[in-house]
């Protein structure tokens, strides 16, 4: 059998279910990868090996007596360190919460456990999820398994790196401006930000209430589908979560895109893209066409308004959440965080309310303009080839580093304002051997179609099967 750690999540689940591998063997395979690479990658903030071994043994015992029927039975998962688990550390990537141990557990963690998985580690992340590069001044920068000098993308930096480096089969990230899709793209893995309200945020550290989303990063679109099926759906403890029914997201994954219309933007998303990114995107579009998709050129509307409004909402809400700590202990934040939070306190309420009050009308107008023409919209996830950690270190004092860091999320942020489900999958590598992401967005609650397109692309190509050299060793 292939190295167990290199299986996809659905393959590993099948191996355990059919007893080709025990849950304990699967865990050990992941820990071998972690132990071999972690000193270089720095994707983990805490790990609970004893609990993991107990959970794996319990999964094997349950299976032996016929109880292991969950779709994620026996799988070791690790998550961005901002998902509360009663009694366990949840540092949120910060000094301020370095000893924070919540007394309750996030709904999404409970749902993954109910599906048979267990969480064995908390993963590195941008401080309070507040940058798109993955820099962290307190726990050290997470490093990209494809090239240690380059960014992992953020803010779910450890989630992307840990999935790529084969520490775990899937990891929860969170996405307020691109924080699932950026590390998915940068680490060559798959990730989906669901529709706003699709997944409960109870027990999840808030960054900006209006735009925060919970979602998975994993090896394949099918893996993401399984994870999303497990965590989506209304939660009485999160009254903002949608009551819309949750389909089985794996059910429609058949590789067939005949009759499906794929929108290819002629504006905004490809402006200023680096050549290798444009080339990979162009090839990706052809691959979708080869699966039967009809390509439609589109002009994406309202982008100026969306770019202005999304920035104001996330700034004002983050500023509000952090105002008290900014009064009491501003020195405990990294400079690029506390400086941005400080400026956020000057955003006028009228600007914030303008941005909020137009969100629904713009969404409906956007959908009427776009989703009567196409079923999904594709674009590069990140416009540039991945920069180095040094070039985007906003704490370095170089102003161009701040600009470069902010530019990383220019293609992802609009879909947070619109609340649309949006995935990122690997669509190739740049000349330096770093991954390039393909972004796929759909109509509200259209995750099934987004995943169908992502999965079909992975039927047509093998980019998602590539493994970083250091994980192969």
């Amino acid at each position: 059998m292939t190295d167990l750690a290199n299986l996809s999540l659905t393959e590993a689940a099948a191996a355990i279910r059919t007893r080709k591998a025990s849950a304990l063997e699967v865990l050990e395979a992941c820990l071998v990868q972690l132990d071999a690479q972690e000193a270089a990658i720095n994707a983990v903030i805490w790990i609970d090996r004893e609990y993991a071994a107990e959970a794996a043994r319990a999964a094997d015992i349950a299976l032996a007596r016929g109880d292991g029927t969950g779709p994620l039975h026996g799988l070791p998962l690790a998550h961005k360190d901002m998902y509360y688990q009663a009694g366990r550390l949840s540092s949120c990537g910060s000094t301020i919460r370095q000893d924070f141990r919540p007394t309750y557990t996030a709904t999404v963690i409970e749902r993954l456990c109910a599906a048979g998985a267990y969480a064995f580690a908390g993963l590195n992340m941008a401080e309070f999820a507040q940058n798109g590069t993955g820099h962290n001044a307190h726990y050290g920068d997470c490093r990209n398994p494809w090239s240690l000098d380059h960014i992992t993308g953020g803010s779910s930096s450890g989630s992307g790196a840990a999935v790529a480096a084969r520490y775990t089969y899937a990891a929860l990230g969170s996405d307020t401006g691109g924080s699932i899709r950026l590390p998915a793209a940068a680490n060559g893995v798959s990730g989906i930000k669901p529709t706003q309200t699709r997944v409960s945020r109870y027990g999840v550290m808030p960054l900006a209430f209006s735009a925060d989303n919970v979602g998975p990063l994993a090896r394949t679109a099918r893996d993401c589908a399984r994870m999303l099926t497990a965590i989506a759906g209304h939660d009485p403890r999160d009254p903002t979560s949608a009551a819309m029914p949750v389909p089985d997201y794996e059910a429609g994954l058949n590789g067939d895109l005949r009759g499906l219309r794929v929108g290819v933007p002629t504006n905004y998303f490809t402006e200023g893209c680096d050549g290798p990114v444009l080339l990979a995107f162009s090839e990706a579009v052809k691959a979708l066409q080869a699966r039967g998709a009809q390509l439609v050129s589109i002009t994406v509307p309202y982008m100026d308004a969306i770019a202005a409004y999304v920035s104001v909402i996330s700034r004002a809400e983050a500023g509000t959440i952090h105002a008290q700590w900014m009064r009491e202990r501003p020195q405990d934040y990294a400079a690029h965080i506390n400086s941005r939070l400080f400026a956020s306190l000057a955003v006028p309420a009228t600007y914030y309310l303008e941005a909020q009050s137009r969100r629904g009308p713009i969404l409906k107008a956007f959908c009427a303009d776009m989703f009567t023409l196409v079923d999904v919209i594709v674009s590069p996830t990140i416009r540039c080839c991945l920069p180095t950690l040094a070039a985007t270190n906003a704490d370095s004092g170089q102003t161009d580093a701040v600009e470069k860091a902010m530019g990383i999320s220019i293609n992802t942020r609009p879909f947070n304002y619109l609340g649309l489900p949006t995935a990122s999958i690997n669509c190739g590598f740049d000349p330096s051997g770093l991954p390039i992401g393909l972004q796929i967005a759909g109509r509200p609650f259209g995750e099934a179609k987004v995943l169908k397109v992502a999965d079909a692309y992975q039927h047509e190509t093998d980019w998602h099967t590539k493994i970083p050299k250091m994980a192969k060793a």
């Binding site: 949608a242 400080f342 000057a346 969404l363």
Partner: protein, 71 residues
């Protein structure tokens, strides 16, 4: 880039309204950068025509979910 006057007035306003002092020089740069947001909002004035709606964004998502759906 904003004028020094804009930056100093904004810093003063943040102190008055929130009781927070600039944590470092980078914060002053970030404050001066707010003029970009002002510019973005200025450029939008009068360009969008939407009726005010008694609706939440959550409701808008549900409404928009069926737009263009083909079965």
């Amino acid at each position: 880039m904003a004028s020094d006057d804009f930056t100093s007035k904004t810093v003063e306003m943040i102190a008055d309204w929130h009781g927070v002092a600039p944590p470092n020089d980078v914060a002053l740069h970030m404050v001066s950068d707010l003029v970009k947001i002002i510019g973005q909002f200025e450029a939008l004035r009068g360009s969008l025509r939407f009726e005010d709606e008694p609706s939440t964004f959550e409701a808008a998502l549900v409404q928009a979910a069926s737009i263009g759906v083909r079965e």
